[in-house]
Symmetry: C2
Subunit: 124 residues, 2 copies
DNA sequence: CGGGATCCTATATGATACTG
DNA sequence: CAGTATCATATAGGATCCCG
């Protein structure tokens, strides 16, 4: 039943490699931006509108990181007013299935987790 | 090619539900602890030894959260010296496959990401 | 329109010392 | 052994204003 032979992928080098990547992915906005860009190419203002609550600052920062890591392409058009379009790269798209796996797990277990939290509260 | 129909799982309610759970999972130690506990039942001191760099404080805090969320069982034995054993619950174990999926993605793309970072640096 | 620059706060994490 | 308590710090994230 145990998957111990495989969890070395997580524990690996003490989890360093994995966590370095995970830190980039599991911040507040990355998955949301990637999931939104799965629709296709979008402009900066499109992303602001479609991602509720994100600030310009965090959108810019997160997009820069995604671009730096090669998950997103950034195309600037020399027009007035300026136009900048963002598109998922192949690597960016490849992140979606594992992200969905985690999202599926989370959504599937939300009821159990919330129940457990209530029981824990009343217990202590 | 697009998985847009499915990414609503991520975007859902603006990502709120997913991120509430993700915040618990993607902190510095949670996945490492869960992966370590996949071996089976372990004592507090076992975890300290097997997880390099973790402090007693963070191990305690993270274990409490996992226990509260029903991912880990905590068993206290009234002995001297005290013995406390931690075990993954079924829900806790169920987190491992999606975690492995993400870990697999990360490890598979580390080379590409590092390459992209170097290119980004020299570009700017 | 698409940011950059600046300031600010909350929180996660760490170090250390103490205890039943 | 398995924590708790306290203090300190780094950083993520947010608010606001300005610019080409």
């Amino acid at each position: 039943m145990s998957e111990y032979e495989h969890t070395c992928m997580i524990r690996g080098d003490g989890g360093k490699t994995l966590r370095a990547i995970l830190d980039q992915i599991c911040n507040k906005w990355t998955l949301l931006i990637v999931a939104t860009l799965d629709q296709g190419t979008l402009r900066f203002s499109d992303l602001v509108q479609q991602i509720p609550g994100i600030s310009q600052r965090m959108l810019t920062l997160t997009l820069r990181n995604l671009q730096r890591d090669g998950l997103v392409d950034r195309a600037v058009f020399a027009e007035v007013p300026p136009r900048v379009e963002y598109t998922l790269t192949a690597v960016g798209k490849s992140l979606i299935p594992p992200a969905l796996a985690l999202a599926g797990w989370a959504i599937e277990h939300v009821p159990h987790i919330e129940e457990s939290r209530k029981a824990y509260q009343s217990g202590s």
